[in-house]
Amino acid sequence: MSEAERAGFWGFLRPDGRAGARNHLLVVPTVVCASVVCERIAAVVPNAVALPHQAGCGQLGPDMHTTHETLAAYCEHPNVGAVLVVALGCEQVIGQRLLERARQAGKPAEMLSIQSEGGTLRTIARGTHLAAQFASRLAAEPRSWCDVSHLVLSLKCGGSDYTSGLASNPVLGRVADRLVALGGSTVLGEVAEIMGAEHLLAARASRPEAAAQLIRIVDRVEAEAMALGLDIRGTQPSPGNIRGGLTTIEEKSLGATHKGGERSALEDVVPYAGRIERPGLTVMDTPGLDVESVTGMVGGGAQVVVFTTGLGTPTGNPVAPVIKITANARTARLMSDNLDLDVSGVVDDSETLDAAADRLFAQVLDVASGTLTAAEVLGHREFAIYRRNPTI
């Protein structure tokens, strides 16, 4: 049996053709004003996750669009089995549209508005009833065997040190190449951390348009830093990166882009939280901030995130499992609570890159099939929508 015939995971096949690694009930506020109500509903229903956020009103055109599309992308997400939208009633994000997007993706979905229900307590009471009904339905749904080509893997690094570029990112890169060779998809974000390595990714583009789009978004991020008259070195690399031995953004980027593999062609460049539609490697236009970046890539359809770290970091996501991997032996000891895989053997020569990649690939499929990650066990569900402009 070839690897392609064997590789797969136990997932939830969705009416839109995608496959989920989880079967969450998503309780989504249209606006910050509905966030607490959503958290309280989700707190009492098993397998329900809230999507508390700070946006949804007082936002200008492009930011409003990003907020709406990000929330809609989560309503459609393959790791989500059912959706409860909670609106306030007077905000900019239109709850009805989120409800429609969830239903169009084939998900059972309902909506409540706090102003129509008559306040916090009545909305929580009715919302909890609806959520409990959804949850018992979801609990009865079985997983089925899904070909690995359904998988969209988000490639992320954060709290990087010298071990990231030397070991954990190349291990992830090998897994990324293997997944793409089997027909799957990978997504790389954090445009600021491509700066200095864009020539290498652009040279791997399957289409000239993808190369040109990549260069355009890197130029835009650089121009934004330049326009402020600031030195990007204040934040890139971060103070922790610099203590860890990373000197410049170019050095950080060259190490970071190893996550995207060595062989996978760059197939596409998509906007923040935009749907990843082409098999192969996609670059998403996200900021470098970990939570905003993971939020966007999961919105694009990634069912699983692999997050490499040198210094250690707890970041999770409400709907997608985040697998943490480090090649820093000290971090592996100190932050074992937060970490799923230790590949420090690659640095001290006790494990080869290929052997570490085999372990990671197996773990990705296990997690896609339901194994919980450290971030899930600890309840890390960070969520933050990228915004560029002031609140008005």
């Binding site: 030397l166 040279a203 650089e222 121009a223 830093a225 170019e250």
Partner: protein
């Protein structure tokens, strides 16, 4: 564990995998230097002379420009290397797209970067000088 790692043969710096004391002899394929100052683990040490204004090269690509003459065996970090990207504080000096190696105009040396870690694991010469 080897004391240092050189990723590409084009590199003029090595990464210390352990803390290096001054006076330590380290060597690899085609280079051999004695450290002249402490280098913390994870930080870089020059394996060739790098004149002020020359590119500092790691992963086979420029990671910045030397801001002082750097002697072989010296610690290489923010005190003697400057990024050329996103430098709004130096607007005009490094126009966008002008960074060395930043564009398609420079043919990418895939082999160097793609084989980074393969090369790294081959670059074991340092061990023999322990």
């Amino acid at each position: 564990m080897k004391p240092v790692l050189v990723i590409s043969e084009r590199d003029n710096v090595a990464t210390a995998l352990v803390g290096l004391e001054p006076g330590r002899l380290i060597a690899g394929a085609g280079w051999r230097v004695t450290t002249v100052e402490p280098v913390p683990p994870g930080h870089k040490v020059a394996i060739r002379s790098i004149a002020s204004g020359e590119p500092v090269v790691k992963y086979g690509s420029p990671i910045g420009t030397a801001t002082a003459d750097i002697l072989p065996g010296s610690h290489v970090h923010t005190h003697n290397v400057s990024s050329t990207r996103g430098r709004g504080d130096l607007a005009g000096l490094h126009p966008i797209g002008s960074a060395p190696g930043a564009r398609l105009a420079e043919p990418p040396d895939d082999k160097v970067v793609l084989d980074a870690v393969v090369n790294a694991s081959l670059d074991r010469a340092g061990d023999r000088h322990e």
